[in-house]
């Protein structure tokens, strides 16, 4: 059996996870049905049973530095089969939320995302900033003449001047948090475990990501992979579109190149970003609606938290306002087009500047966790040889198998059993 080890429960963290959407965690009686029905859990130290007992005991360090909570894709097969309705899928989602806040840099930004009460602040910040930049450029919400959005706010000295620094700040903040996360994860794996290397591991991740291979293993919520793929590729397409426009604008302004300027024509060099942008926006909108539909129809086994809903709403609003801004502009409805474009910028700011703190951060944290898992061979889903079971006397039964890859000797000692 395990050696005795003193566990220091962090009751504050237990509450934090419960408040972040894991309120059912205390119902768990550690039967481990979840770990078996999970199609994504590896054989050695599978999840989410151990995460449930860690959460009950407030083992924050173990949880926030644990790649397993990110290997979880919230299929909710565990939640569907849980005999106690402890909703392990929800608890792991809540743990992930606490992880964003834990690794948030600067720290107060994590605090702003910890409670729905701060939501107005999060939207007020970009609204005010965009207004100020607009005013500084001499723009307004109702410029004269044909609708050209850069009359409200020029791209180079307006949009880019505001968004680019915040984008780089977001990336830097994300890097600080991710660096901590990587160190935290790596400290949990013995140095003797062979490392595959970051790049090969990242390549493997990309291979899976292209068709969402892991996501498709979900049983209870198989249709989620389609919705996620639409939103994922919609985002990538819109990112590409934005960058094409950026190149056109700055290439024209700085290098004097003959490149089309906004509003881009539906012809020539203007056509590719138009097509990519519109197709991507539709993918984003369709995917977002599908996601909402999935959450509504699957309420019982997969309820979404406020945190989840806010982000999903922002995604939809980005797509919706972007699309409507284009339509109202083409329809020459200036009274609507400019305010909608303004709102669009607010939501885009939310997505870009808050990248490390909002749910979009899962893109970074999950990717890094999966890379880490692959790096140390943690995610090997191939089945190990069946555990040999011989007619052994009871005394020998509890002899433990050799440690699996991706766990420390220290971790093995610890096994707090929760009371039912």
């Amino acid at each position: 059996m395990s050696e005795a080890q003193l566990i220091k429960p962090d009751l504050g963290y237990v509450k934090e996870v419960m408040n972040a959407g894991g309120e059912s965690l205390k119902k768990c009686y550690q039967c481990a049905t979840c770990s078996v029905v999970c199609e994504l859990a590896p054989d050695g130290k599978p999840f989410p049973r151990k995460e449930m007992v860690w959460a009950q005991w407030g083992q924050k360090e173990k949880l926030v530095n644990n790649p397993d909570v990110w290997l979880c894709h919230q299929c909710s097969d565990c939640t569907a089969k849980c005999p106690r309705d402890a909703k392990p899928g929800e608890v792991l989602a809540a743990v992930r939320r606490t992880a964003y806040q834990h690794f948030a840099w600067p720290g107060f930004m994590g605090g702003l995302f910890s409670d729905a009460r701060y939501l107005p602040v999060l939207f007020a910040i970009p609204a005010v900033l965009i207004w100020l930049v607009m005013a500084a450029n001499g723009g307004s919400l109702s410029p004269e003449g044909p609708i050209v959005f850069s009359k409200m706010m020029p791209i180079t000295t307006g949009v880019d001047l505001l968004f680019l620094p915040f984008a780089f700040l977001a990336l830097f903040s994300a890097f600080v948090g991710l660096n901590e996360f990587w160190k935290g994860m790596d400290a949990q794996v013995e140095a003797s475990v062979p490392r595959k290397g970051f790049v090969p591991a990242a390549k493997e991740l990309l291979g899976e990501l292209i068709f969402h291979a892991t996501f498709k293993k979900c049983i209870s919520s198989a249709n989620r992979s389609t919705a996620h793929m639409l939103v994922f590729y919609g985002f990538i397409g819109l990112f590409v579109t934005t960058n094409i426009v950026l190149v056109y604008e700055w290439g024209h302004k700085l290098l004097g190149l003959h490149l089309p300027q906004t509003p881009l024509p539906f012809s020539g060099l203007g056509l590719p970003p138009k097509i990519i942008g519109n197709v991507s926006a539709i993918a984003l909108l369709v995917g977002g609606v599908l996601m909402i539909n999935n959450r509504m129809t699957n309420k019982k086994d997969n309820p979404a938290s406020t945190y989840d809903w806010v982000f999903l709403s922002v995604i939809l609003l980005v797509g919706l306002t972007g699309f409507l801004a284009q339509l109202t502009r083409l329809a020459n409805m200036a009274g609507l087009a400019y305010p909608i474009y303004f709102l669009h910028l607010v939501f885009v700011f939310y997505i870009i500047a808050y990248l490390p703190y909002s749910k979009l951060a899962h893109l970074l944290y999950r990717s890094l966790a999966i890379i880490h898992a692959k790096n140390v061979g943690r995610d090997a889903l191939t089945l190990a040889a069946p555990a040999a079971v011989a007619a052994v006397p009871a005394a020998a039964v509890s002899a433990e198998p050799a440690p699996e890859a991706g766990e420390t000797a220290e971790e093995k000692k610890e096994n707090p059993e929760a009371s039912a």
């Binding site: 009686y29 039967c31 078996v36 049973r49 849980c82 005999p83 069946p386 555990a387 009871a394 096994n415």
Partner: protein, 419 residues
């Protein structure tokens, strides 16, 4: 003892619904205190689920001697009357003064039957033997089991070809077979009604993670009793239902549909001990058996802790903490998957046979009796203040049922005296 034949029972009696170990106990204890008692039993025999058990825990002795003593007490006591193949239709009236309608199905075999078996020899029709959970067959006319009380044959009219065949009638030289026997309803005056309707095994088909229907070698604990009993379908040899091969690698799956919001939310309190006991059956037949028991917690309350200790020492069970959530037949064997919580990884065990330790679900509901949210009797509730005994009231083992039923006899006597 009287097997009741009249159409009314005017003498105010204690009506005990269910002739299993709880019902028998309440009935006999009350009758021996001088009260008239009527037992209403659904089966064609008394003894209930206990009669289907191979051995009791913790003593590992057969239940037949205990049942036999009870049957002797019934035979000797004229205050006890009983109906077999009978059900209570409804209970009318108030506590202490009730009318109980008892519907008695025809047995088609009367008391002249000597149990000579000539009828079975000529009967051309077979049926699934429900006493052995369908593991073997009986003829349409059959003896419920070899120690049945009353010791009398019975005809399953749903498969019998009737008077067109008539072979059994012709073969019976005692004139014991009457194919024209009719259903009857008997009105009984009751001073007290005791629901001792017992339990049924939870339907393992409903547990989609445990592969009950994926292989005939995934069985339930009640079937294991029949597979181990000398009067069972295999004469007590523990073999696989699929091919009759020795079942040496046996996995017990605890909490199969128990302590589970999706199935039975409660703990039946006996399944852990039943599996430990059944591990003993396997070990006694196969010295080299590989026995694995997956559990959430092993529950052996009170003195039964000693049995748990003994089982670990003598039956050599590989106890694994972790609930099974996948059972998959693979090339003639069955793979059972769970997380070995103390060992630190997923575990897959290959087995010849898997025993699902299903829990106890209340077997019946009677109009006029009050039940809780899990369909267990709320004793003394409602205008009729009907009583509950044994597993109809809560999941409990045989010893606990007997103790409870003895206490309920006193409550029933009090109700009779008050009325």
């Amino acid at each position: 003892m009287t097997e009741e034949k009249r159409h009314t029972v005017d003498e105010k009696s204690i009506v005990v619904v269910g002739g299993g170990i709880s019902g028998l106990t309440t009935a006999i204890e009350a009758a021996e205190a001088g009260q008239p008692v009527v037992i209403v039993e659904k089966n064609a025999y008394l003894g209930g689920r206990v009669a289907q058990n191979y051995q009791y825990f913790p003593k590992m002795c057969p239940p037949t001697c205990g049942l036999e003593i009870n049957f002797q007490r019934i035979r000797k006591n004229p205050a006890i009357r009983y109906f077999t193949q009978a059900e209570v239709g409804k209970i009318a009236g108030e506590s202490g003064n009730m009318d109980v309608a008892v519907k008695v199905s025809p047995r088609y075999v009367n008391e002249k039957c000597t149990g000579c078996n000539k009828c079975v020899e000529v009967c051309p029709v077979e049926r699934d033997n429900e006493f052995n959970y369908g593991l073997d067959k009986t003829k349409a006319i059959y003896l419920p089991h070899e120690a049945a009380f009353p010791f009398r044959y019975v005809i399953d009219m749903s498969v019998c070809k009737g008077s067109g065949c008539n072979k059994c009638v012709e073969a019976c030289k005692y004139g014991a077979i009457d194919l024209d026997m009719k259903e009857k309803t008997v009105e009984v005056k009751a001073g007290a009604v005791v629901s001792a309707t017992g339990w049924k095994p939870y339907d393992a088909k409903k547990i989609d993670t445990l592969g009950f229907e994926s292989s005939p070698d995934v069985i339930t604990n009640v079937v294991m009793e029949r597979l181990s009993a000398p009067n069972g379908p295999t004469q007590g040899k523990i073999t696989r239902p699929s091919d009759g091969k020795e079942a040496k690698r046996v996995v017990f799956v605890q909490c199969s549909g128990s302590r589970d919001r999706l199935h039975l939310p409660f703990c039946s309190s006996v399944c852990c001990l039943a599996s430990l006991k059944q591990a003993g059956y396997v070990r006694s037949q196969y010295e080299d058996a590989e026995i694995t028991m997956f559990y959430i917690d092993v529950r052996a309350p009170g003195k039964l802790e000693d049995f748990f200790t003994k089982a670990q020492e003598e039956f050599k069970i590989n106890l694994v903490k972790g609930k099974v959530a996948k059972v998959t037949p693979k090339g003639g064997e069955i793979e059972v998957e769970a997380e070995d919580i103390l060992g630190g990884g997923k575990m897959r065990v290959k087995a010849d046979m898997v025993v699902l330790a299903t829990g106890m679900e209340p077997a019946a509901t009677i109009p006029g009796v009050v039940y809780d949210e899990n369909s267990f009797v709320v004793s003394g509730a409602g205008s009729a203040r009907t009583l509950g005994a044994g597993c109809a009231k809560k999941p409990v083992d045989v010893a606990g049922s007997v103790q409870d039923a003895t206490g309920v006899a006193l409550k029933a006597i009090q109700a009779m005296v008050r009325s």
